[in-house]
């Protein structure tokens, strides 16, 4: 058994495998199909201060080795999460036992439309003892107000991170958009404002057209591309970012199997997230957590940190 524990800011993860926001609901949706307790972390779906209905249907289109989505942050708001979802998560995981039995870190993905809005949402989540971290989504391509606008400009990113950092006292992860000329610039801005880690990549903005109807396949025209098709781009950005910042990098983008996960670790990610692959194989995150351990054992590597950033 290799040591596959990883530390991200104040988080101590039992393994480096987390599920990506928006692809795993609140985790409990998958509880009948796999042992969600064995994950390193679960990033629950994008939460905003006030409820949002999201975009109109259709919200997805399949693409070559991937999919587009434009869900647009549908959620019932931070209060509903605190009052209804959090207690159910607590009932399942028993957060009070966190120190004595292994369980995944439950991380809330936080979105907003202004720095104040993000901060208010983050400070609501800050009150929940069972939530040790938030992931700040400054990269959602599917909302008009906020989202990606904050993630494609270093100054705007800095203002959101700074505002949230002042309001939030636990581990702060900032999720970056790949739709930029230089992702390391945004990552450095987040680091400078006190982010504990960055996660990347969010989806690449794309589109698809139904030629018979001469209409976009997505209700708002464009959406975010995810799945194996984006993996080469994600891996390149993780590599660049890991060399540009001193805080941990969490890698995601098309990871479907153990070998994909190892690629991201070697590129410099300290942990990884599984996104779209959950739709194809609901057990994939658990399989990858086991797979990383087996791969390290087979290669006689005692500690996962020995491979992080090891590519030459």
């Amino acid at each position: 058994m290799a040591n596959i524990n990883v530390k991200i800011g104040g988080l101590d993860l039992q393994n480096p495998v987390m599920t990506a926001s928006g692809t795993f609901g609140y985790g409990l949706e998958y509880a009948n199909l796999m042992d969600i307790r064995r994950l390193g972390g679960i990033i629950v779906k994008g939460t905003t201060l006030t409820p949002r209905e999201g975009n109109d249907y259709p919200r997805m289109a399949e693409t070559a080795s991937g999919m587009l989505n434009c869900v647009g942050l549908q959620n019932k708001g931070a209060d509903y999460f605190c009052k209804h979802i959090y207690p159910e998560l607590d009932a399942f995981f028993h957060f009070e036992k966190r120190d004595i039995e292994p369980q995944p870190a439950i991380i809330v993905n936080v979105s907003g439309s202004s720095p104040e809005d993000y901060a208010a949402c983050a400070s609501r989540i800050d009150t929940l003892p069972g939530i040790p971290a938030i992931e700040l989504n400054i990269s959602c391509p599917n909302v008009h107000d906020g989202g990606m606008a904050f993630g494609t400009n270093a100054k705007a990113a800095a203002s959101v991170v700074s505002s949230v950092r002042a309001a939030y006292h636990k581990t702060l992860i900032v999720k970056l958009s790949p739709n930029v000329t230089d992702i390391t610039e945004i990552a450095r801005a987040a680091e400078a404002e006190g982010a504990d880690a960055v996660s990347l990549i969010n989806t690449l903005m794309g589109t698809s057209i139904d030629i018979e109807r001469r209409r976009f396949r997505l209700s708002i025209g464009t959406g975010g591309l995810s799945g194996p098709s984006v993996k080469p781009v994600a891996l390149r950005m993780v590599y660049q970012t890991a060399r540009a910042v001193n805080i941990p990098v969490i890698g995601l983008g098309g990871i479907c199997c153990t070998e994909d996960a190892i690629e991201f670790l070697m590129a410099g990610a300290q942990a990884i997230q599984i996104g779209t692959a959950n739709f194809v194989d609901p057990k994939v995150s658990e399989k990858i957590a086991d797979g990383i351990n087996d791969w390290l054992d087979a290669h006689h590597i005692a500690d996962i940190s020995d491979i992080v950033g090891s590519v030459e």
């Binding site: 928006g22 692809t23 795993f24 609901g25 609140y26 409990l28 949706e29 998958y30 509880a31 009948n32 199909l33 779906k45 209905e53 999201g54 109109d56 249907y57 259709p58 919200r59 997805m60 289109a61 399949e62 693409t63 070559a64 080795s65 991937g66 999919m67 989505n69 869900v71 549908q74 209804h84 979802i85 159910e88 009932a91 399942f92 799945g227 194996p228 779209t276 959950n278 739709f279 194809v280 194989d281 609901p282 057990k283």
Partner: protein
Amino acid sequence: MPITIPHINIMQNPPIQADLHVVAVETLPKGHVLLRLTSPEGSLPDIRPGQFVEVRVEGSPRTFLRRPISVNFVDRDHNELWLLVHIVGDGTRTLGRLKEGSKLDCIFPLGQGFWMPMDKALPQEKRILLVGGGVGTAPLLYYGHELRKAGAEVAFLLGGRTKDDILQRNLFEHYGEVHLTTEDGSAGVRGFVTHHPALKDKWTRIATCGPKPMMWAVAHEALKRGIECELSLENLMACGLGACLCCVEKTRRGNLCVCKEGPVFNAKELIID
């Protein structure tokens, strides 16, 4: 023990993931195939009419996601689950090419099924019409079987472009009277299901599955006459578990997931224009 959590996991018969085995692939008219699957590891779980299966399709870069397919029938005597597939693209084409003995990775049962009577002592006045169009007739076969078993009086109203487009007619006849409509008049009443006089009969409940315009028209008729009506929707979906929120339908309760809160909805919940 299945995990059920009120705000998140509303399924009463929670899904499993299993490799089902293909018992037979029957070719039906107009590019349809019937996949008869079995579970080699014991009895199939509880499956309700209107629930569906997320099938993994491998073999093409264009079939990245699972395909949701409604349960056509559950043959408990032979421990078989039937999926009726209309071959329209790469994914369904791959399914149509499966051979006897091959395995199919399935997540099932998913979603909320059709209304079922709470106990078998169904009052005699329960007369239920099941209205299907095209491959949308598929879930109605199992529903008809289950309703009949529960003591209801069932009739079917099935529509298709031509006679050949109406599939499994002989099987439907086991469970109730079958009314037909075809666009070309090659069987039953010429026109759409909404043109058939049977729709105007006295029904205590109607359930429908098929093209959205057809379902909307049926629901409109039912609502007008104060008849309980359920519709089974087939919005494009990804996860099948209520996690990704891609397949939402606008309802009077807001955007709901067709995969989790549906695919069957009461007409009163939907926004039928």
